[in-house]
Amino acid sequence: MNTDLRVRLGALELPNPVVTAAGCAGSGRELAQFFDIAEIGAVTTKSVMLEPHAGRPAPRMAETPSGMLSTTGMQGPGVDVFLQRDLPWLLSRGGRAIVSVAGSGTAEFGELARRISAEPGVDAIEVNLSCPDPADPDGRRFADDAARAAAVVSTVRSHARSDLPVLAKLAADVPDVVALATACVEARADGLSMINTVRGMAVDPRTLRPAVAGGIGGLSGPAVRPLAVGCVYRVHEALPEVPIIGMGGVRTGADVVEFMAAGASAVAVGTVNFSDPSACVRVLREFTEALESRGVPRAADLVGAAHRPGTGV
């Protein structure tokens, strides 16, 4: 059977639904040692900021059941190095690039959108709304306040080239993810990515101190998958026309089927790239086999299947 793997995220068409999650694949260079980066749907790059950032102190990582806690604190070289070194490399290898941006203020998001739009070859901009909002007196994340998140999305939309899709990346640990999603779509996000890591903590049993510096880390990996699938399901139900990249603990092709059935049009592999550097191509192969064995001719037919009455596709 010749399965059609193509999926659409609004104006963006990808050859297949498996992409990498921001911060879990660099700019593709390291994973390219293990597989051809052009084979997967797209590479979502690590969130880029305007200036270099040294990130947070170590320890930055702790293993937890079916997941990990991390606090890298957006370490990165800044947009200049990204545009000179990382993006050209990815494009030269035939990779499709979803560029994730993180600003330490709304204006910085706008400037990043302008700079990235000036580069040919970028496929989409993803707006990381899980970074702390410097204008918030309590240091909360943009995603913690739907109005502030919407302001960021709208700034990015107005600074980005009009034909470049803008995806808003939501946080899951917010009181109302559907309200957040709706606010971002009203601010003209072309699509949504969900979920980011979830705040959590582990205590080192030996020292009785927090296992990662700063105490609170971001939980990721299969441990968060039911939470992520739930967010995708609810948002797709409320906003069925809005394309979603689903992520959170994707480990196998069956997980891609699950996210797509819940309403995602594409699915990102994150933490599992750390434990299995070939995960993206393995997951894509398993996904393709799953479609074949179910007799589903087009991957896109899966999207939202869990919302439809009846069994299967």
Partner: protein, 299 residues
């Protein structure tokens, strides 16, 4: 994809044996064996395909042999869930191994006198290094330390391959009571060492670097930082390292290391973001001509 980069392979276990307080696992992994250079490590998936133990465990490569097309041996101490699972492997079990990872020990161009300093399981990567150095006509001397006699790894092999071998234990149960740095200065003088290679816990590397400094000789250290990926994508394994340009960067110990020039590691600042590091809060270099960021530009 690349002839030189790491590969991911499912390797049959050849055997698992006890060596003092450690386990040694040999796996058949021709692709890793042929790429290996001393100082590099492997990362091993633990717990099976559907395990809730997600992350790989990094281990220094202790030996490669041409048997069966190429075998790789690593040594480990049982510390927690992952190493306990590994200790239960039997021959013909399959292990998912990625390697070789990391930057190897740089080898001197000329035949010089090298002293190799290891602490506990940190001795493992020094044995293939000793062999590479010997092949280049270098003199090799060992200083190995551990908490107790059974934690001084492979004393017999060390004696066999090195010109001299000195041992220290914290409890005095073997060799000199004390730490490797208590005897290192004397060894450097007696053996007229030109360079130090060290692997072990961070405080030991820091002390060894200080001793090498007082003798005015260079030191290469191999660090152990917790790692989620080992391939350079997660940014969790960073330590502060000063580049040739005098600028401190938070560099990844998995791909920019694990081997660094000791003098360039800011041991006192490990676990912090030094205020003068590239991109630290309030960093002053912003907007100035931006220094190179590439891993290959440092060390």
């Amino acid at each position: 994809m690349s002839d030189y980069g790491p590969v991911q392979v499912r390797c049959p276990v050849l055997n698992v044996r006890r060596v003092d307080a450690y386990y040694a696992i040999t796996v058949v992994a021709p692709g890793i064996a042929e790429r290996f250079r001393s100082g590099q490590f492997v990362s091993v998936a633990v717990g099976g395909d559907h395990s809730s133990t997600l992350l790989r465990r990094p281990f220094a490569i202790h030996d490669v042999k041409p048997d069966y097309g190429g075998t790789v041996e690593f040594l480990f101490a049982v510390r927690g869930t992952g190493t306990a699972w590994l200790a239960e492997r039997r021959s013909r079990d399959l292990l998912d191994v990625v390697g070789p990872l990391g930057r190897p020990f740089p080898l001197p161009r000329d035949p010089v006198n090298c002293v190799l300093v290891g602490g506990g399981s940190g001795s493992a990567p020094l044995f293939p290094l000793a062999q590479s150095l010997r092949r280049r006509g270098c003199r090799v001397d060992f200083v190995l330390g551990g908490a107790s006699a059974d934690r001084v790894f492979s004393a017999i092999t060390a004696r066999r391959i090195a010109e001299t071998a000195v041992f220290t234990t914290d409890d005095g149960s073997f060799g000199t009571r004390g730490r490797v740095t208590d005897v290192l200065g004397r060894v450097i003088e007696e053996c007229r060492s030109d360079v130090v290679y060290a692997c072990g816990p961070m405080p030991m590397l820091r002390a060894v670097t200080a001793v090498a400094g007082t003798h005015g000789i260079p030191v290469q250290v191999s660090v152990e930082e917790t790692m989620a990926c080992g391939t350079g994508i997660c940014m969790t394994c960073v330590i502060p390292v000063v580049g040739e340009d005098g600028i401190t960067r938070m560099v990844r110990s998995c791909v920019d290391g694990p081997v660094f020039r000791g003098e360039q590691v800011r041991f006192d600042d490990v676990g912090t973001i030094p205020f003068d590091a590239l991109g630290a809060p309030g960093w002053k270099g912003a907007g100035a001509s931006r220094p190179a960021e590439s891993a290959r530009d440092i060390a």
